[in-house]
Symmetry: C2
Subunit: 233 residues, 2 copies
């Protein structure tokens, strides 16, 4: 939608399908943050030291810190935030059920790789919404630089025991696979969201070739993150 003035935003929200798509998008991001908070807080229990526990709990708190503003925006769009989140609960919970970390390192990688992937994905989608919504989404994806500590811990663990690397590389691939399969499930279920990506008469969208390029960008960024951790993608 490019640069938007307040007028354009208002006009966009006059289209009920556009409004529904933005509500869906903000709702899935909100529940994703709530759920990430829960999992990070849970995984913090596996921390080998109090310092590591504080670092992971910080990541959890940063995620949760975005929830209030997202809920406010959903309310201002006339949605019940909790009803709006409900359709996304099964897919996100299913993702977490299928990717429960077996130990501290798996939890760290999930925090880093999973959040990174989600952030990349939502940033791609944010290109198709009005400037206000986009700014809110981008701000909500900020991890406050906490993930640097994950890179440090995982690299050290691999230096200490090289065999760890193979297991964790497999784990990273599993995270990517589960994320894609749940994202596909959400896209198939939510017509307004799919329509947003497809575009409309007065709104640019993605054709299949563009979707393919987006998918390539997401997998390349994932591979880049794995490499930063010292792992094969």
């Amino acid at each position: 939608m490019g640069e938007s003035t307040p007028n354009e935003i208002h006009a966009a929200f006059d289209d009920p399908q556009y409004r529904a798509a933005v509500v869906d998008l903000l709702a899935v991001i909100t529940y994703g943050e709530i759920s990430a908070f829960e999992r990070l807080a849970e995984d913090a229990k596996l921390a080998p030291t109090l310092q590591d526990k504080v670092a992971l709990a910080s990541m959890a708190s940063v995620e949760f810190g975005h929830v209030g503003r997202l809920i406010d925006r959903l309310e201002r769009l006339g949605a019940d935030p909790y009803e709006a989140m409900a359709p996304f609960v099964p897919a996100i919970e299913e993702f977490h059920r299928h990717t429960a970390p077996a130990d501290w390192l798996e939890g760290l990688i999930k925090a880093y790789v999973g959040d990174g992937l989600a952030a990349d994905f939502y940033r791609e989608i944010a290109a198709f919404v009005d400037a206000d919504t986009r700014d809110l989404i981008i701000a909500s994806l900020d991890d406050a630089g906490h993930s640097a500590f994950v890179v440090d811990r995982v690299k050290k663990a691999i230096q200490t025991d090289h065999r760890v690397g193979g297991r964790l590389a497999l784990w990273g691939r599993r995270l990517m696979g589960e994320a894609l399969s749940q994202a596909q499930r959400v896209a198939a279920d939510r017509d307004a969201l799919s329509a947003l990506l497809a575009g409309g008469v007065d709104r640019p969208g993605m054709d299949l070739a563009a979707l393919g390029r987006m998918f390539t960008r997401l997998t390349e960024a994932h591979a880049q993150r794995m490499a930063e951790l010292g792992l094969d993608a």
Copy 2:
């Protein structure tokens, strides 16, 4: 210590026992917040609705939000924050082990009554430290008004089923008893903290009568909180 200028603060910290007491005090508050975060995040799982879960997770995040600044201050005082916290881990963990909530309502009351009691206690102690330390402590005890939701939920539950009130009143008494017994354990173990309360040549302190009055204030405030919840203390 009354109003302090930067000079006075510096002078106070020249006394190694005063510095040790402030490090102890900030460390026990810091670990208390980390631990409260963990328990609230855990108890949020018991929430009957997503809205309730978000409310309790917000309380957890607010608690954790104070941790960064406390850790910074400990470092500026020349302490290793994690070493400084270590002596307080057993008492705080023991408190939580003895007060694991059996259900959502017990968790809510623990969040409200436990945090309230801790905040009152640290506020009392803050009267005996320099203004900078006191400001940091008071700011760290702010619950951002989240506890109003606890009062609402507990009152509604008692209105729905009057028998709940008796069980929850007993639970409140148990929380108070466990908190006092762990506080006593900490006070007995940490000479610098006890000395801070006792005062010194150039520092006002509490005699036994003053300690008794503080205890009375704490129990009165506890009874007040229980009454706000609609429970006998």
